[in-house]
Amino acid sequence: MSVLELRGLTKSFGGVHAVRDVSFSIGKGEFLAMIGPNGAGKSTCFNMINGQLAPDSGEILVEGRNIAGLAPRDIWRLGVGRTFQVAATFGSMTVIENVQVALISHARETYRLWRPAASHHRARALELLAQVNMQDAADRPSRELAYGDVKRVELAIALANDPKLLLMDEPTAGMGAGERHGLIELVKRLVVERGISVLFTEHSMDVVFAFADRIIVLARGRLIADGNAATIRDNAQVREVYFGTGKTFAGAAP
């Protein structure tokens, strides 16, 4: 069974068909990139999978269970982690406390009133921070971190519920080229080690073609291509939506 399967997912805003009849699936341990020009419907698609938007029609199956329309926190409980396009932490907490809050929630201990939160799951939180190389910053206020480090901490938080599926909305947005490859390598390593499936959107094509196992392309709300890097590179329709065919200008030439 696929970890995630979309069947005929559709969403419109007023008269705009943001996502039309999109279907695809992700296998276990697959690193799947979703690309497409601006306005293709990537974010809408993403926000339906993570529960921020309810689809008009279609199914979103996580290991066979339809999650369409569930609240984000319920989807998280089913083992779907996510990171945000603009990374941020809980600014009034230290780095490790950020991870601890997620672990506490995962253990369903949110409503406990007595034992200090700092003593909950500290060892496990340090382990997660070590995986993203942030263990040395554990007790620093998280709001003091550089942006690249915030991205790493966010990844550690997203791993707190041992997700089987990780949704990453433009994981490298706002990062420099060197940092970008570092982060994606780290994610790729974790995916391989833990057998997590990842769906990510990305604007930087070098990252996509270098790391993704498979690529799907959206344009104007429709899925137009699905395949490995070589297939996508040679797909005429993909070239057209990204670069245009040039036919429009042919007749105008003097």
């Binding site: 993570n50 009034s92 907490m93 809050v101 949110t110 939160a117 700092a118 709001r143 938080i157």
Partner: protein, 628 residues
């Protein structure tokens, strides 16, 4: 009720709706452009009634009355422009909590100014020249002035609508309401725009007040009553929507009029006097609207609330030094009864301070770590105080039971109101909590047979041995220390972290499985519970209580205490409450114009001391290299 009587009540409701609309429209307009909720809007309305009264009686006749009303609107509009230029311009970039407090300071100052200028007595204006009679409609006599008022509401609505859609000024207002940064970037002089919008809103409030003089006397309590009404209307209609304000004004006024019209109904098994339930009905309307449309009937969802306040330091467990300091203070307080043998007043002051500490700490619990700026915390204090006092009065229950029941009653109130409040954020939450508190206040005030109305409840004295002030002081001390430590414990526990996670980033908190609304709702309940302890203690400490206990002034006092200490620190509310209570009991009692003094203190605090006492002390300390 016959059909005719029903239709007549509808007409009655329409005439009251105009007044509600005028004040709510101004409030809405000002908020739309400047993003400031002008708490002094009710005060401008009140000034309108007083100024128009002066014109109508000093000049008299048609000129004095009708000319006076026009002149009043202009004068109040000018006053609004002055307020905008002198005060609000300095605080547009401040956190909204500070903006709300600054405008509340104006409420206090204007109220004392009116007291000084016009005295404490109610002043009833003359009847309107040209509209002295009544016409017979549906077999009843309706004053022609009421008919005039029915017409004036839609007229002003039409005028505003035309201004907003057909003039350059109106286009600028609508543009600024949508995106004021962009309007600024396009080269529009924002200063002039903001000033003129504030003046227009103020003039509408002044006009609304002035038109009332032929119906109701000018009264010093009008400011907050009008403000509470305007909030209900704006919340129901939708912030920033002028047609919404009119629609909501009509709905609220009709609901009120119909409740009064229905009067006492005998259902056979039970007799209900509906005219006592105007406030409950209003509350129900508001509740239903908020459930169905959280941003009001014609309102739009608000953008994320931006806060320009400095981000917070992570909370740390108490350092040995802080613990030692706590022990020293505690020992000092335990010795107070011995020190106070010469001056029993010291113990009274001590009890006041401790109750203030409970009040402020419980408010800080939801306001700081929860990020919910409640402007109606006095409701839970009042529920506790009245709960305790009424149990003693009606059921003659012992103090122990009353002191346990008080927080439970407050908890119920907090859970009820909190359920609605946590669905909103920012200024909406502030307005809703304030409106709830006003409703509790008015219910206590109106339900005379049960609560004693404005006289309150008297003879609530503690039994022996607590009739000795030293014993009662120790009881208060034990409960206050327990309350403070308990709330602190909660903040360090997973629950407190979940609460802060929900405040720091609701989206992210939900994405890690936290039910933010539920967490904040329960926090609201906890704060209400603890606040109720303070209320119960207050009732027995004073021996009598009055609606003053729930008054909006007490809610604001709480906010000032927390801000005085510093909202971002855990010890802040304790220090703030202590300083405030001592100031209140010593300095404020020296003058009749304590409101103005209080207003001046708030303005000073907001403009010069935004971190509070403990916050300022802590940053000095950090600069010196220490850690607190």
């Amino acid at each position: 009720m016959t059909l005719n009587a029903f239709l007549f009540q509808i007409l009655n409701g329409l005439s009251s709706a105009s007044g509600l609309f005028l004040i709510a429209a101004g409030l809405s307009l000002i908020f739309g452009v400047t993003r400031i909720v002008n708490l002094a809007h009710g005060s401008l309305y009140m000034l309108g009634t007083y100024i128009a009264y002066t014109f109508a009686t000093k000049i008299g006749g048609v000129t004095g009355f009708w000319g006076g009303i026009i002149a009043t609107a202009l004068i109040v509009g000018l006053l609004g422009a002055l307020i905008e230029i002198v005060l609000l311009r300095r605080i547009y970039r401040a956190p909204e909590l500070f903006q709300l407090l600054a405008t509340f300071a104006l409420v206090l100052v204007i109220n004392d100014a009116a007291l000084w200028l016009w005295g404490p007595a109610d002043l009833l204006g003359p009847r309107a020249p040209g509209f002295r009679g009544a016409v017979e409609i549906l077999g009843r006599r309706l004053p022609t002035y009421d008919l005039f008022l029915i017409v004036i509401g839609p007229l002003v609505l039409l005028a505003l609508h035309l201004t907003l859609t057909r003039t350059r000024f109106g286009r600028l207002i609508r543009a600024a309401t949508q995106d004021r940064e962009m309007v600024g970037a396009l080269g529009v002089n924002q200063a002039v725009l903001f000033t003129s919008v504030f003046a227009l809103g103020a003039a509408l409030a002044g006009l609304g007040g002035a038109l009332q003089i032929a119906r109701e006397p000018a009264n010093l309590a009008t400011d907050l009553i009008a403000l509470g009404d305007a909030f209900v209307v704006v919340v129901v209609g939708g912030m920033g929507s002028i047609p919404g304000a009119y629609l909501a004004a009509v709905i609220i006024a009709e609901v009120r009029a119909l409740c009064v019209g229905i009067g006492t109904v005998d259902f056979g098994f039970v007799t209900i006097n509906f005219s006592k339930f105007t406030l409950v009905a209003e509350f129900l309307v508001m509740a239903i609207v908020l459930i169905v449309r959280p941003f009001g009937l014609l309102g739009k969802a608000q953008g994320a609330v931006r806060s320009i306040a400095e981000p917070e330091e992570p909370i740390r467990p108490a350092t040995p030094m802080l613990k030692a300091l706590g022990v020293v203070v505690l020992v000092g307080l335990l010795c107070l009864p011995l020190l106070a043998q010469g001056s029993p007043y010291l113990l009274v002051l001590g009890i006041d301070v401790l109750i203030a500490v409970i009040f402020a700490t419980s408010l800080h619990f939801i306001m700081g770590p929860g990020g919910m700026h409640s402007f109606g915390h006095a409701a839970y204090f009042g529920l506790g105080a009245y709960g305790a006092a009424l149990l003693v009065k009606w059921l003659a229950l012992p103090m122990g039971v009353a002191l346990i029941a008080a927080p439970l009653l407050a908890l119920c109130g907090a859970l009820l109101f909190g359920w609605f409040a946590v669905r909103l954020s920012g200024v909406y939450l502030a307005m809703l909590t304030l409106a709830f508190a006003q409703i509790v206040w008015a219910a206590v005030f109106q339900w005379e047979g049960f609560t004693g109305g404005s006289n309150g409840v008297i003879g609530v004295w503690p039994p022996a041995p607590f009739d000795k002030s030293w014993a009662y002081f120790l009881l208060t001390l034990v409960l206050a220390v327990a309350a403070v430590l308990l709330l602190r414990r909660f903040l360090f526990a997973p629950f407190g972290y979940a609460m802060r996670a929900g405040r720091d980033s609701p989206l992210r908190a939900e994405a890690i499985g936290i039910d933010v609304k539920r967490v904040h709702w329960l926090a609201f309940g906890v704060a209400g519970l603890v606040c109720g302890i303070g209320g119960g203690l207050f009732a027995f400490a004073k021996g009598s209580i009055s609606p003053e206990t729930i008054h909006i002034n007490r809610s604001i006092d709480g906010l000032v205490m927390v801000l005085l200490g510093g909202v971002q620190t855990l010890t802040g509310p304790i220090a703030g409450a202590s300083v405030f209570a001592v100031l209140h009991d010593t300095v404020m009692r020296q003058t009749e114009y304590w409101r103005a003094l209080m207003g001046a203190i708030i303005l000073l605090l907001v403009l010069t001391f935004p971190q509070g006492i403990v916050g300022a002390f802590a940053s000095l300390w950090r600069k010196a290299g220490g850690r607190l």
